[in-house]
């Protein structure tokens, strides 16, 4: 499996985890630091061989704490660096993600969600929507969060994660779930499609012929911290304006709009089509960026749709962002599975039938 992946115009049947790892290599990732956890261990396994073969950096870190901090270190030099992990172990990384946001470092984290809280189990889940989009680190910070729904998107959005991280000097999360990580689909590994971002004005390279640079988050004076936060949030606003991405189908005339990200969005899409066959006007909005969230678009659609339904594998997390966007204009309901595979198409259709009758 690991040997056969390189750049190819031919489609290859690839597991989500390998697709992410190979895409990272093709995106020019120079350093991988990681610690094993199911269901994403294939990423580290692939990287251990590939990075050494390419004479790039690889460390089997002693913990996720160490792994993410190694990424911060590598990123501070302008290198493209990443780690990958899952749920309870991404929890360990929250401190460093807050630092990375404050330090404005282009960290890339692949988070392949499993069930929590605590150790939970290795079944797929979307229970870390909040962990990724709100975060568990300290302070007012934001991570860019990208959510693939297919194995091909695992490739495309890994490329994009490296680019956006560099472009905005902001930690970026590729948020997949255990199902996508283990799923195989034919994918194409095209060339990394984004321009390289010049980091020569901030990267630590040794203070040759110039004063020393400091990458820091410590702001001893309150005024400094206010200015810094304003600047940081101006950047987040820019990201919202430029980078919000979603897929939208059949929403123009829709009475009910399903909102779903990641693997459940596949079933939501099929359910939408089934409902259309039954004459129920259902549309789908699939957020591809979770931060920035397509709030503005959802708010617009709330003027014409009669109801929104969030389809998630958790107890209802993204639904909060939908409600904020809808702002009370119409009801927002939830179709969910707490953990495991996404709600089945049949389940979603049945529920939509009920909701449309109300």
């Amino acid at each position: 499996m690991t040997e056969c992946l390189t750049k190819t115009s031919k489609k290859v049947l690839t597991k989500g985890n390998y697709a992410i790892a190979n895409a990272a290599v093709l995106a020019g990732c120079e350093c991988y630091f990681g610690y094993p956890i199911t269901p994403q261990s294939e990423i580290g396994e692939f990287m251990s061989g590939k990075m050494q073969e390419l004479k790039r950096a690889y460390v089997s870190a002693e913990s996720e704490l160490a792994a993410i901090n190694m990424v911060l270190g590598a990123c501070s030099t302008g290198a493209k660096a990443m780690t990958s992990s899952s749920s309870c172990a991404v929890a360990l990384m929250q401190e460093a993600l807050s630092y990375a946001a404050a330090d404005e470092l282009p960290v890339v984290l692949v988070s392949v969600m499993r069930a929590g809280p605590g150790l939970g189990n290795i079944y797929p889940s979307q229970g870390d929507y909040n962990q990724a989009t709100i975060g568990g680190g300290d302070g007012d910070y934001k991570l860019i969060v990208l959510a693939p729904a297919t194995v091909q998107e695992c490739v495309d959005l890994t490329y994009k994660a490296f680019y956006l991280a560099q472009k905005y000097k902001n930690p970026t999360v590729l948020l997949a779930d255990g199902l996508l990580g283990q799923m195989m689909e034919p994918v194409e590994f095209k060339e990394y499609p984004y321009p390289e971002v010049d980091n020569s004005d901030w990267a630590l390279t040794g203070a040759k012929g110039r004063p020393g640079r400091i990458i820091r988050s410590y702001a001893p004076l309150a005024d400094n911290q206010c200015e810094f936060l304003k600047k940081l949030h101006a950047k987040y606003k820019l990201i919202e304006e430029n980078e919000t991405e979603w897929e939208e189908i059949n929403t123009e005339d829709a009475d009910i709009i399903l909102v779903s990200f990641g693997s459940p969005a596949r079933n939501a899409k099929s359910a939408m089509k089934e409902c259309r066959k039954l004459g129920i006007k259902v549309g789908l909005l699939r957020p591809i960026t979770l931060f920035p969230f397509p709030s503005k678009r959802i708010s617009e659609l709330a003027d014409t749709a009669k109801k929104f339904i969030s389809v998630e594998i958790n107890m209802g997390q993204m639904i909060r962002d939908i409600k904020l966007a809808v702002n009370g204009k119409v009801p927002v309901e939830l179709i969910n599975r707490p953990v495991g595979n996404p709600p089945s198409v049949e389940e979603i259709v049945e529920r939509i039938k009920k909701e449309s009758e109300e």
Partner: protein, 184 residues
């Protein structure tokens, strides 16, 4: 057209590999295909299954299907577990070496093939999984031995390539098995 398949057995029977070969065969036939495994903490010995969804259209396939068009059950536990999941008019293809022949549902098609015995006759029990793909190809008409052979060539790692001829034989035995016997 969309068709889905579940291949199930106990750990070590090569269920996931068989699924991967089938998925590759569909890919080589320019179909959209999605493969995903069942989950379990077991490394060996537990029951294992994977689902393959094949799709003709441009659409992304849905997952976690309530019903299945074709189920390949390599052991009794899988047969019992997945029998209720066979779609009306769908197929239960069972390894009769390890599964008791019983037809408790009248709305589906059954096929009982002594796959393990046939693999043993070929000289390698481990060929059971690939042999089952031959049977599946014949029963479904959705793929053929040539595509499966090419898929095997892609899936087998370099250090297992020496087993390719034997695997191809197993495919052929499965494909050419007298289906009138299987339905009996």
């Amino acid at each position: 057209m969309e068709k889905n398949f579940i291949i199930a057995g106990f750990g070590g029977q090569g269920v996931l590999l068989a699924g991967e070969v089938l998925a590759n065969a569909f890919m080589l036939d320019n179909k959209n295909v999605t493969w995903y495994p069942s989950y379990g903490a077991e490394m060996r010995g537990g029951t294992v299954n994977c689902e393959i969804v094949m799709n003709d259209s441009e659409d992304v396939s849905s997952v976690n299907k309530a019903e299945t068009d074709f189920i390949v059950a390599l052991n009794q536990a899988s047969f019992d577990r997945f029998l209720p999941k066979v779609k009306k008019g769908g197929w239960m293809i069972a390894n009769s070496s390890l599964v008791t022949e019983a037809k408790t549902r009248s709305d589906i098609n059954y096929m009982f093939v002594p796959m393990t015995k046939l693999a043993d006759d070929l000289g390698n029990t481990k060929m059971t999984n690939i042999l089952s793909l031959g049977v599946l190809a014949k029963a479904s008409g959705l793929t053929d031995p040539k595509l499966l052979e090419n898929a095997l060539d892609q899936v087998l790692p370099p250090h297992r390539k020496n087993l390719l001829p034997l695997n191809c034989k197993a495919l052929k035995i499965g494909y050419e098995y007298d289906l009138s016997l299987a339905r009996a």
